[in-house]
């Protein structure tokens, strides 16, 4: 992995700290490497412009994710995005740096096959580690809706992943 220079500004620090995970989050929401990179760059640009609105005490990860979710949603609404079949197969996964460390992609692909809203919730909760309350706030839906989305996602994954994450 490339060694990034020491961050010099708040924006550079944000990019150094969250760049990889935000880019991967965008990929999981958009299923497209180029779109994900565009979305991540757009997110940091919007974050830069909105930095003065970040309130002290507000969790900056949740704040960044709110921007990213909106950027990805805008992209998903685009006509061309919707024309393309975005189902993911193992071949679609970005090339890993160390192939020998590549885990079996079955559980990951099962999550990727979830409908957009449920996948978004799963990614924010399980990948970004945001609480359901934070997700409710940043996606502007009631906490009960987030819980319901997560519950049905887990129910669906449970059927697909018996013997994987979900044999308990």
């Amino acid at each position: 992995m490339e060694v990034l220079p020491q961050p010099e500004s708040p924006l550079e620090r944000l990019m150094a700290q969250y760049g990889d995970s935000l880019l991967r989050t965008c990929w999981m929401m958009l299923n497209d490497r180029d779109l994900a990179r565009d979305a991540a760059q757009e997110t940091f640009l919007k974050a830069y412009r909105a930095l003065p609105t970040l309130r002290e005490g507000e969790t900056e990860k949740a704040w960044l994710m709110q921007i990213a979710v909106n950027v990805c949603r805008d992209m998903r609404r685009g006509f061309w995005f919707r024309r393309i079949d975005r189902r993911i197969t193992p071949d679609d996964l970005p090339e890993t740096v160390r192939e020998d460390e590549r885990p079996d992609p079955t559980p990951f692909l099962a999550v990727m096959s979830l409908p957009a809203k449920d996948r978004e919730t799963v990614v924010l909760h399980y990948y970004q580690g945001l609480s359901l309350a934070e997700i409710a706030k940043l996606t502007e839906v009631p906490a009960s809706t987030v819980r319901a989305r997560l519950a049905r996602a887990k129910k669906k994954l449970h059927r697909k992943l018996e013997g994987w994450y979900y044999d308990e």
């Binding site: 002290e56 580690g129 945001l130 996602a153 887990k154 994450y165």
Partner: protein, 476 residues
């Protein structure tokens, strides 16, 4: 699942990394518009506050149990007995099961959060042999016990004494939120005082990151600005869709209209696009249906020349897919592309189920009554949808009644996690009857900060699964 999904995702996507070029591209875009920082930015990475649970569990006296459930119950009992843990503490642990050389292996670990740190807590592994003999081990077995026996929460290794202390604080934290759920509506000074009080209760554990005074507003979601398309161009587009694909206004109600202008070749044209009903539309709630439907409705696009409203191109993204000729009213769901012959059946299905959906709050299909869920799924099955997916039904004669199933589920949950009636009180229960495996009652538990479910074989009440996720720590 939390940590494993995170790790798998990072390993699978590690070829996707933020680069120096990305940084430079963003910095270049900001040139000339660097704003003054008005507020100090928090530097710390927000810890995952969710404490995932996932343990399947013990069984209640008087309840029968499935073999899979029995394995987890055994593992749970073993680790509790051997290390002095209490069942309710295990709601803070993730559980992973596997089989090695004919033995069942059950692993208990935790996800990093304000309340628990994986390195300190370590991992418990239970091995169950074919003869049901079980032994547990702890990743800190070789550590000097004096490191953790003093119940000090600042210790680098946490044994049972620390887990007890931690769980007491976690319980206090949940209680605090139950009593202060509207904290963010209070004046900032009052919020600060309340959070300081909470910090004292949790000490020496740190206050979770969301526990800080703030105003509750959030910027509204950005929504695309629709481009208004002139009536004449729209009429031309609809006529073209009718002529080529036999679409009428009723069928087009399944789509959303998006219009834009393309001037790339010097002759400006309206791009009139009909896309499947937006899956972000909160009014469309059923995840099983929407993704499926979008793929089979496809996208229509008509290009209309701006100068004279002449249609220059009409396209459907599913052109050439398996046609609808062989499908009937009873199996149309299986077609690859829903064209004008199928769309009236699609509309009929939607309209038949609309009264059911209207009875429930937005996006809450989880709350369908057993009868409504059965009727809803039956309509899908009648159209040829997968019966394994649309699997809600009605209990058969001889099955547990809904009331009996609810009682069994509560008993199973109480006993599995050593919960009191008082602790179960905040949970709202919903019942689903699934046609899977000859009939299964699935009872879901929802509360402000936890959810779980109990699956019971409908015929005799045998417990198939008990799980409770107490990891929803937050302000909601």
């Amino acid at each position: 699942m939390n940590e494993r999904f995170h790790d798998d995702a990072d390993r699978l996507l590690n070829g996707l990394a933020w680069t120096r070029q990305d940084t430079q591209a963003v910095l270049a875009a900001t040139k000339g518009e660097r704003p003054e920082m008005k507020k100090k930015i928090r530097a710390g990475l927000v810890l995952a506050v969710s404490l995932l649970l996932v343990a399947a569990v013990a069984l209640a006296i008087g309840l029968s149990k499935s073999p899979e459930y029995a394995v987890l119950e055994k593992a749970r009992q073993t680790v509790c007995e051997q290390y002095g843990l209490k069942p309710e503490w295990l709601t803070m642990f993730n559980t992973t099961t596997g089989r090695v050389a004919g033995k069942q292996i059950v692993l208990f670990d935790v996800t990093s959060s304000t309340f628990v740190q994986p390195d300190a807590v370590g991992k418990y592994t239970v091995t169950i042999a074919a003869d049901r003999q079980a032994t547990a081990s702890w990743s800190h077995d070789n550590v000097d016990p004096s490191l953790w026996q003093n119940a000090d929460l600042t210790a680098s290794v946490w044994g049972a004494p620390q887990l007890e202390q931690m769980f007491a604080r976690y319980t206090a934290y949940r209680t605090w939120w139950a009593e202060h759920e509207n904290v963010y509506e209070l004046p900032l000074a009052q919020q600060t005082a309340l959070f300081a009080e909470l910090q004292q209760t949790l000490a020496p554990l740190a206050l979770p990151p969301e526990c800080s005074a703030r105003t509750g507003d959030t910027a509204p979601l950005a929504t695309p600005t629709p481009v208004p398309v002139p009536a004449a161009a729209l009429t031309a587009a609809k006529e073209a869709l009718s002529a080529k694909y036999a679409l009428n206004d009723d069928m087009l109600s399944l789509f959303t209209l998006n219009a834009s202008v393309d001037s790339s070749d010097g002759q400006p044209v309206w791009i009139v696009a009909y896309n499947p009903v937006d899956y972000d539309n909160p009014g469309e709630a059923d995840w099983r249906w929407l993704d499926f439907l979008s793929k089979r409705l496809g996208n229509y696009q008509v290009q209309v020349r701006q100068s004279d409203n002449t249609v220059v191109q009409v396209q459907w993204s599913l052109e050439g897919e398996k046609g609808s000729d062989t499908y009937t009213e009873n199996n149309w769901a299986q077609a690859d592309a829903y064209d004008a012959r199928i769309l009236p059946w699609v509309l009929s299905l939607l309209r038949a189920n609309a009264p059911i959906i209207a009875r429930y709050p937005e996006d809450q299909t989880e709350w369908f009554s057993v009868q409504d869920a059965a009727a809803y799924d039956q309509a899908f099955r009648d159209a040829g949808f997968n019966a394994n997916v649309y699997n809600h039904g009605l209990p058969q004669p001889g099955d547990l009644t809904q009331e009996q199933a609810l009682q069994c589920a509560q008993q199973a949950m109480r006993e599995a996690y050593s919960l009191t009636d008082e602790q179960l009180k905040p949970y709202t229960l919903t019942a689903s009857y699934l046609l899977d495996q000859g009939g299964t009652w699935q009872i879901s538990f929802y509360s402000g900060d936890g959810m779980g479910n109990v699956d019971l074989r409908a015929a005799d009440g045998e417990v198939q699964t008990v799980q409770l996720d107490s990891g929803v720590i937050g302000n909601g």
